[in-house]
């Protein structure tokens, strides 16, 4: 095999990958010279590849233009033709002490979303201002957005000083104005530097033309910016990305956003407040791993007990956990064409959790360019504001000031990010201190139960229109399984509504909650080795999907697909008759809001087959999918 497997004996990496790396975004009004400054920085630090300068000269000449630095980054034809940067780009160079990743962000108002895309990844920023034009709307807007994105280190450069004859007075005017603006926002500029990016004054060196200026050059200012602060000192936040069961391990995968964890730690899973202990920290190719894992690492952990955890839950340490809430106040920027209005339904993403939400109030709406307050009815495109959001389900989060990683959110409209911002405060709907729930484990092992019952635990979910035959089939299956020595338990939707779910009505929210409780109870029974047979109309595909997530691999869905007209002729509970006469509102059979399943394990139409025949088929499915054990008769036949 002509393959190379490097050996570990090679000496340490000779290149400087251990140098600190800072990520700098360059922002400012269109045409104030961002791309030119970037080109000049690369040139001055000797970072241009061979042939690039010649290529740029040729490109400029072909267009009949004087030499243009910006062509270096404005790689796209459209950008070169129109002389603007459309999208953010990233390029690297080195200063004496560090590696710099430069993020060039477009200044054009049209492309503000790209500026934010670039700036959200930065440790620091360079805000550029044209000496002749001075502070413009877009300059102020970018200053505001840097503040909103949490970029605290900002160096200001006043470019095109050649166009104002290197006037120290003009420089001071601009310096005072922008400093006042930034300080008003809570950002103190680390330097204000006069430069001419085209000619190189002030970029890497002080030239005589700015002899009156004694501060740092741009390169020196970049050298002084600090890499992002480590998040390891903050309390643990591990948002669950997924739960993997590729083998017999049940691994919770996610990235530690802050703090650290190790095997043996007691943890709390929010928003539910369930307590467990980390059994192992799993890895590949070597597993498990010892020692603490800190912020920034993508890890996998297993727990000492089986708890229901799903994507979006946040793991913390007890006493230092995030809050759970259904109400958030946030400061956001809005990028969508259509203004954000009060009452609007949106989708928000907080870490790995997504939740439907309603905009309860718009408390402020500001054009950050003009810095004018607007009517509080809506937040227009490229404007910012403060809003109050009510969430459809509880989420775990932190105020931004307490944890910058978990205290920020984005808003999605039609599957596309339309805005984002910071969590200002959370109104904890339940106690912020987690309830110390410690589930007590059964004294019996699953295999002890399955040896007796000859089946594994399961949730058999029968869904279908009223009158389709769910309860009849459920009862027949219960009798059959019991007859075989098994332990079936019937959970009929209507029966549970008489007690456990007596507080619930028939609104979509209440129906969802009804299904959730059914699924929780059924799953508890399944975990203890029983076969829970649920018979419930459960018309919403989303609610059934939620039930499947709860019961997980124990879930078997049977669609009782009896045609609606057959169901109505049966009408065992008289519901169809009542609904037809108007005495029963929101009845599924008549209202036709039933969403048939896809991906269910079995479909049965009871209009054309006997109950015994249908029960046989269910039993076969249960054997095929590993719930009921095959009979021993085959073995006996071989003896």
């Amino acid at each position: 095999m002509n393959m190379i497997l490097p050996t570990a004996s090679i000496s340490a990496t000779p290149n400087g990958t251990t140098r600190p790396q800072v990520r700098i975004v360059i922002v400012g009004h269109v045409d104030h010279g961002k791309s030119t400054l970037v080109g000049r920085l690369l040139h001055e630090t000797g970072s241009l590849p061979d042939g690039k300068l010649e290529m740029l000269k040729a490109v400029s000449a072909r267009r009949g233009m004087p030499f243009e630095w910006s062509f270096l980054l404005d790689a796209l034809q459209t950008e070169r033709d129109q002389g603007i940067t459309i999208d953010t780009t990233q390029i690297r160079f080195r200063t004496r002490s560090r590696d710099v990743v430069l993020i060039d962000a477009p200044g054009h108002a049209e492309f503000l979303r790209n500026m934010i895309t670039g700036a959200s990844q930065a440790d620091g920023a360079v805000l550029i201002i044209d000496a002749l034009e001075g502070v413009r709307d877009q300059t102020r807007r970018h200053g505001y957005l840097l503040h909103l994105l949490g970029v605290k280190q900002v160096a200001v450069v006043v470019n095109k000083m050649d166009r104002v004859d290197f006037s120290a007075i003009r420089f001071k005017e601009i310096s005072d104005e922008i400093s006042a603006h930034l300080i008003g926002l809570g950002v103190t500029p680390s330097a204000v530097i006069p430069i001419s990016a085209r000619d190189g004054d002030g970029v890497a060196e002080h030239t005589p033309r700015i002899g009156w200026y004694s501060g740092p050059s741009v390169v020196e200012a970049l050298d002084a910016l600090e890499p992002a602060r480590p998040l390891a000192q903050l309390p643990l936040r591990l948002p669950a990305q997924a739960i993997y069961k590729f083998d017999d391990r049940r691994i919770i995968a996610g990235r530690i956003e802050s703090g650290s964890l190790k095997a043996g730690d007691e943890i709390v899973i929010m928003p539910a407040g369930k307590i467990a202990r980390i059994k192992t920290v799993e890895s590949w190719p070597v597993t498990p791993v010892d020692g603490p894992q800190t912020a920034g690492r993508s890890v996998g952990i297993t727990l000492d007990r089986e708890l229901f955890i799903e994507r979006g839950d946040i793991i913390g340490h007890p006493g230092q956990s995030p809050r759970d809430t259904r109400r958030i106040r946030a400061r956001i920027f809005w990028l969508h064409d259509k203004p954000l209005t009060k009452g609007e339904q949106i989708l928000i993403r907080l870490g790995t959790r997504e939740s439907r939400a309603t905009v309860v109030a718009i408390e402020k709406a500001i054009d950050p360019g003009a810095l004018s307050n607007e009517e509080n009815a809506a937040i227009a495109r490229n404007h910012v504001g403060e809003i109050d959001i009510s969430l459809a389900q509880p989420v775990a989060t932190d105020p931004y000031t307490e944890n910058p990683r978990t205290g920020r959110l984005v808003i999605e409209v039609n599957g596309r990010i339309a805005g984002g911002g910071l969590v200002l405060s959370v109104d904890a709907g339940r106690p912020a201190v987690p309830v110390d729930i410690v589930p007590v484990e059964s004294a019996l092992r699953p295999d002890e139960r399955s040896a007796r019952y000859r089946h594994n635990g399961a949730v058999i979910w029968l869904t279908g229109l009223p009158g389709s035959g769910k309860s009849t089939l459920a009862r027949a299956l219960e009798r059959r399984l019991f007859g075989n020595g098994g332990s079936p338990i019937l959970l009929d939707g209507d029966t549970l509504r008489a007690g456990l779910n007596g507080d619930l009505g028939f609104s979509p929210q209440d129906r969802a909650e009804n299904i959730r409780r059914l699924a929780e109870v059924a799953t508890h029974l399944a975990r203890n080795g029983h076969i829970a047979i649920v018979a419930a109309v459960s018309p919403s595909a989303a609610d059934r999907a939620a039930a499947r997530r709860i019961a997980d691999s124990a879930f078997r869905e049977i669609y009782v697909a009896t045609p609606a007209e057959v169901c109505e002729t049966r009408d065992p509970k008289g519901h169809y008759a009542k609904a037809r006469s108007g005495a029963l509102q929101g009845f599924t059979g008549i209202a036709n809001d039933y969403q048939p399943p896809t991906g269910n394990e079995l479909t049965i139409d009871t209009s054309n087959r006997s109950v015994a025949d249908a029960t046989d088929e269910i039993e076969r499915m249960l054997a095929r999918t590993g719930i009921v054990f095959d009979e021993l008769t085959d073995l006996a036949a071989n003896i």
Partner: protein, 264 residues
């Protein structure tokens, strides 16, 4: 955490997001140094098992060493390997320059594979530092139904929140190693002992820095015969990585045209 740990953790996060949020994923395996690192990262992300197919869109014109590598490690790494052929040269845009036209076959092959398998997400090992239009990419980059990239209308993407809902019939490109550099790839390959194709190491004063089709990829002058020497060479060089890729240099916009049309 050192620099390589940070790169690794971020890539794993991206891979897991893609797996959590898309239904039908595939990972594009071009057999080169970058996609090998990517597969390695996927095995880390999913604890040794790559839970989606590895797709090799095969022009039929790769180096023999690349095919040998694919067949060996496809098995050893237990990949669900899908090899899809590319249509003949006369099926692609005739106005493209010759090498670009040759490369465009890969775009067409990719489109056919997308239709055949119905993937809604393709994980690709491109990096920002390779090429100027790649530098403008998103981590989750939407493609039109025809595979095209609309660089004027890329969705906002910030704080590791990605747009993961492709329009009906369209797909997303996911770029888990967009933030890596060529030197990072080599340093990580060495640290993790990831196998490589020997064409990357110098023989008779030449080596390949980037591997594509055999007829349009050329070696560069080099004496680097192991990874340490490659890293030392990269530290000093000003020769761009894709200097040996003919298709990049035919016209000013050849590569951009390819990418807008759906090339990687």
């Amino acid at each position: 955490m050192d620099h390589l740990d940070e790169l690794e953790a971020q890539s794993i996060y991206i891979l897991r997001e893609a797996f959590a949020r898309l239904k039908k994923l595939a990972l594009l395996w071009s057999l080169g140094k970058d996609s090998n690192v990517m597969i390695w990262l996927a095995r880390k992300a999913f604890f040794g098992r790559v839970p989606f197919p590895a797709l090799h869109v095969d022009t039929g014109k790769k180096f023999p060493e690349m095919y040998a590598f694919r067949d060996h490690f496809g098995k050893e790494w237990d990949l669900d390997l899908r090899v899809e052929p590319c249509p003949p040269i006369d099926s692609v845009d005739p106005t493209l320059p010759p090498a670009a036209r040759s490369a465009a076959r890969k775009t067409e092959g990719l489109k056919l594979a997308l239709v055949k398998h119905g993937f809604d997400g393709l994980i690709a090992g491109i990096r920002r530092d390779e090429e100027a239009t790649r530098a403008k990419e998103r981590v989750f980059s939407p493609r039109a139904v025809e595979g095209g990239w609309d660089v004027r209308d890329q969705p906002p993407e910030f704080w590791d929140h990605f747009n993961a809902s492709p329009p009906q019939g369209a797909h997303l490109r996911i770029h888990p190693i967009l933030h890596w550099t060529e030197a990072d790839i080599w340093a990580y390959t060495k640290r993790e002992n990831i196998p490589i194709i020997p064409l990357y190491l110098a023989r008779d004063g030449k080596r390949y820095r980037s591997l594509g089709d055999a007829d349009i990829t050329f070696p560069v002058a080099s004496t680097a015969s192991n990874i340490d020497e490659i890293l030392t060479e990269l530290d000093g060089t000003k020769i761009p990585e894709r200097a040996g890729r003919a298709l990049d240099h035919e016209t000013e916009d050849a590569f951009e045209r390819l990418r807008v049309a759906g090339y990687l």
